[in-house]
Amino acid sequence: MKTLCVAAEAGRLDEVLSFIGSCLEGTQCSPKVQMQLDVAVEEMFVNIACYAYEGSSLPDEERNAWIEAGMIDTDGVPCVRVTLKDKGIPYDPLAKEDPDITLSAEDRKVGGLGIFMVKKSMDHVAYEYKEGMNVFTMEKKLS
């Protein structure tokens, strides 16, 4: 597993996605899976950047996000695991109710789509609050 630590700011998104791309080099990751992973990491990182440290007493230099990525083996199938951590307020994104995707454009709310896309596109997602950190893990099989 490789780890990247960046300030939890949406402006650092390109750096985060470059890191994910570098972790996938040399793997048999299809363009489709790469896009699904990029979208999932974007959604979760931007959530941290926008909300994790709202109201937190931590100084700016400690308002970071940690991203770990690497390959694991799940029942003989190669799988990418990405873990995002922050020291912000405890928040379980999986507890959020799914948006109603059958509503008309007029009745659609703009929020909640990101985490829903993550849940739908990844093979496994998990959240825990551990040692003062929010820890969100997602896994995607490569075949």
Partner: protein
């Protein structure tokens, strides 16, 4: 990186997108769309060259669709298979007119 090209013909406006529509680029597109829609009755998003869309991009399309529901029509053309999957999963296939 997102390139935005606008082509206006009377009340018809085509907005062609090339690259990535994500958290970084969505605010620019939103501003461009808001500034361009007055008097437009036919809006087309040409996304043949769009490689990537996240929820931030979906929000801009939803905002444009809501505006166009009041003043005309909107269509989205050229979505690649991966982006179509995202429209399917999020229910956007039902609220957008995709050709």
């Amino acid at each position: 990186m997102l390139n935005i090209k606008k082509d206006q013909n009377g009340n018809a406006l085509t907005i062609a997108l090339e690259g990535r529509l994500d958290t970084t680029s969505a605010p620019e597109l939103e501003a461009e769309v808001k500034a361009a829609l007055e008097g437009v009755t036919e809006l087309t998003f040409d996304i043949n060259e769009l490689q990537y869309i996240s929820s931030a991009g979906l929000r801009v399309l939803l905002m444009a669709q809501k505006t166009m529901n009041k003043q005309g029509n909107m269509i989205v053309t050229g979505a690649n298979e991966d982006i179509r999957d995202i429209f399917d999963v999020t229910g956007f296939t039902d609220i957008l007119t995709i050709k």
